[in-house]
């Protein structure tokens, strides 16, 4: 019994998918700057990345450290 070769798939263009999600023609790159569907635009992404404090990182690391003691 032979195993069929995996179907070759072209990589998905992320921009095209975002365009389809927003109902925007795929060739309209300029219109992709803001998604009317979710409001997740470039500014949202920048705010999200910036909204992480040293305290948040400390809490993340503390949780990992506590769990490490349990699994040690």
């Amino acid at each position: 019994m032979t195993t069929p070769e995996h179907e070759h798939r072209e990589p998905i263009d992320i921009s095209d998918l975002a365009a389809r999600a927003a109902g925007i023609p795929e060739t309209s790159g300029e219109a992709l700057e803001t998604s009317p569907r979710t409001g997740r635009d470039r500014a949202w992404w920048d705010r999200t990345r910036a909204d992480w404090s040293d305290d948040d990182e400390a809490a993340f690391n503390a949780a990992m450290a506590a769990a490490r003691e349990v699994t040690a």
């Binding site: 975002a18 389809r20 927003a22 569907r37 948040d56 993340f60 699994t71």
Partner: protein, 144 residues
């Protein structure tokens, strides 16, 4: 011989986000690709934890179905030592989420988020660690 260029990880997908991405065409898959676009614009890559890929594959998607994601130029596969994943598993109770947390811990800088459709798995961490897959808005697109 020079080292291959390594781009920073700007986003991490867990199993649920990978699964959402693969259920195309759907609002969920569009939501994932929409978020992946922003780190790509900054020259960053989206991290795909190995264990999360395996979990997604075993959920019925198969290896070939994962290719559009794993072979995309804006993604990178991330592997971690099993004790790190085990540590994260203690906190999440889920292998895919644990793999995402381990990847965040080992491969990403502060501020990098995990995209997930199961935020409840990350209760042990600051809520801001995760970004939710967005299901709002348009109905699923018709299959081509």
């Amino acid at each position: 011989m020079t080292e291959p260029e390594r781009r920073p990880v700007g986003l991490i997908l867990d199993t649920s986000a990978i699964t959402a991405y693969l259920t195309a065409p759907s609002v969920a898959s569009m939501s994932v690709s929409e978020v992946m676009r922003w780190p790509a614009e900054d020259g960053e890559v989206t991290g795909l934890p190995v264990a999360a890929l395996v979990q997604a594959a075993t959920l019925g998607h198969g290896v070939a179905a994962l290719a559009p994601l794993t072979e995309h130029p804006a993604t990178v596969t991330l592997a971690d030592d099993w004790p790190v994943i085990m540590t994260a598993y203690e906190l999440t109770g889920d292998l895919g989420a644990a793999a995402a947390v381990a990847a965040r811990h080992s491969h990403a800088e502060a501020g990098v988020r995990i995209l997930t459709d199961q935020r409840g798995l990350y209760r042990a961490f600051p809520r801001k660690l995760t970004i939710a897959v967005d299901h709002r808005g348009l109905p699923p697109l018709p299959r081509e």
